[in-house]
Amino acid sequence: MHCPRAARDPSTAAETLKSDGRRPSPQEAASCGWTGRGGLPRDPLAVRRRRAGIVFTLPVVTLVGILLLYPIAQTVYHSFTVWDGITSHWVGTATYSQLFAKPEFVQVLENNALLVLSIPVAIAFPLGVAFLIQSKLRGWRFFRSVFFLPTAVSWVVIAYVGIRFFADDGILQHLLNGVGLGFWHPNMLSNERSALIAVMITFVWSMFGTNLIIFLAGMATVDQELYDAARVDGAGSFTVLTKITIPLLRRFIQFAFIVTLIAAFTALFSLIFVMTSGGPGYGTTTLEFFIYEQAFQTGDFGLASTAGVILFLAVAAVGLMQLRFFKGED
């Protein structure tokens, strides 16, 4: 529809309307951005605000649109194609059945499922420790800083030390030798399952601080009088933990679960790249690493996109749960 210039310039709006000889219909007015009653601009400020609003959103929309939203649409499209990065042709849903028919992909999904099993451990430890240091324990800030420190360190660095920890002549073996278990050589990185467990242990270690901070923030919201009342009633520490702390922290525990799950699925690339390269075999190839391998080692961009959609769906499902927390309780 043709919008008179006046629609965008409130100072001359009235004149243009007179010379035009008619008032626009409300529908016309709305599509021209005239939101005021009777098709007249509500007030010059509203038009200015709207214009400023669009100008101020433009940078973030451009950046995110071109570099995140457009590529995810491309990923979805190419997930149905055979694509080598240059030419692609449409195949349809067969690409998905081909992907799931691959035994190595099934193992990849299994690895991700096993990673999920490490989450309860990654939550239980910091929850217990948060419970111990909540009550204004002297020096708790120091401990909090120390425990959160791994969060600041790159997975690449953690992985190099991790190799030295789990290697056959590494720190773990020295510890075993020290306690008289020197006959046992777990050599964890050389076996598919134990290598994945090594990745999981490293993951739990590095998530400790993050979840501790979440739980400490949660415990700060619990009314101290509840604890005092429970103590007066003769409740022991364990009863307080299970009957008061954990129920009141339900929201924070769910939040920690989601944060940990998203980290497990999308943040371990560098750790796996340096520590195990996804091996031995496909032992530590998780979904995110599989995508990288398919695209940049095998050159199969189409299959990488198909797997990319699976990862996106998994993260989006978890992300939708997270929205609940941003909106607040219930």
């Binding site: 491309q74 800083s145 939708l320 941003f326």
Partner: protein, 280 residues
């Protein structure tokens, strides 16, 4: 005024005994958390022979490191890439957050939802088309390519945070400024931006650590060692050096140090960023 508080009954040795157990446990966890840093430090100041022998000190590995990797150059690349990405993220998230919170227009809610939804796009999911697009535009092997990708990855959460932050500023503030004759642009620069400094600090610290520590984006989009950040340089150290543990530990230490310093200086911003959105 001095307040004397009697210890409740039953808080005698048993109380202090349990305190001691708690401290012992915390000390144990401290050792577990800090040991890797001790390990890096002690082994980086040994030569390879001294590492195998388990004693002695030398700076040979540090000298080796500077011959193996362009350390200075890669530290500079990391700094340029990290700070530029942070600058872009702050620019687009404050303007966007201001618009979504204060300058609402028709469909602005929808645009906001689209930006927030982009938080759920993992970089791995889009890595193939992103690579093809950047290659098509000639952005591969240029720092600005990686900078823009990092900026896009950080922008959705930052914009969400800024929107929530600006929403908490009372409407009266904006209305009073309008009455005083300020335009929406001036309101942003003179009133909103100064108020947003704490939230901007949180975003900056979160993003510094994320970008500095990241591997994947730099690995794929910056393939020339001269434009690579230090984390990528360390992860792709030529394989003949992979058995030179002291060298690796020296490299690990120097690449970790800047992010650790930022953490130690600004950790309260980092921690508040983590719990933002859940604790009110």
């Amino acid at each position: 005024m001095v307040e004397l508080r009697a210890e409740p009954e039953g808080r005698g040795w048993r109380h202090y005994g349990s305190r001691a157990v708690v401290y012992a446990l915390l000390a144990l966890i401290t050792v577990v958390m800090l040991y890797p840093f001790y390990y890096m430090g002690i082994n980086s100041v040994r030569s390879l022979d001294q590492y195998y022998a388990g004693h002695g000190f030398s700076l040979a590995s540090w000298r080796n490191l500077f011959h193996t990797l362009p350390i200075g150059r890669q530290l500079l690349n990391s700094t340029i890439i990290t700070l530029s990405a942070i600058a872009i993220i702050l620019a687009v998230s404050t303007t966007g957050g201001y618009a979504f919170a204060v300058l609402r227009y028709r469909a602005s809610r929808l645009v906001f939802v689209a930006i927030v939804a982009a938080m759920m796009v993992p970089i791995q999911s889009i890595i193939a088309p992103e690579f093809v697009n950047l290659a098509h535009w000639g952005f591969i092997n240029h720092r600005y390519g990686a900078i823009l990708v990092y900026a896009a990855l950080g922008a959705p959460f930052a914009t969400f945070l800024m929107t929530v932050y600006f929403q908490r500023i009372p409407v009266d503030v904006v209305e009073a400024a309008l009455i005083d004759g300020l335009g929406y642009g001036r309101i942003f620069f003179r009133i909103m931006l100064p108020l947003a400094v704490p939230a901007m600090a949180t975003i900056a610290v979160l993003q510094f650590i994320f970008v500095w520590d990241d591997l994947l984006v730099g690995l794929l989009f910056l393939q020339n060692p001269d434009v690579r950040p230090i984390t990528v340089g360390l992860a792709t150290i030529p394989s003949q050096h992979l058995l030179d543990i002291p060298l690796l530990m020296a490299g690990s230490l120097i690449s970790a140090l800047p992010a650790v310093i930022v953490y130690l200086l600004f950790q309260r911003y980092l921690m508040s960023g983590l719990t933002m959105g859940i604790s009110k």
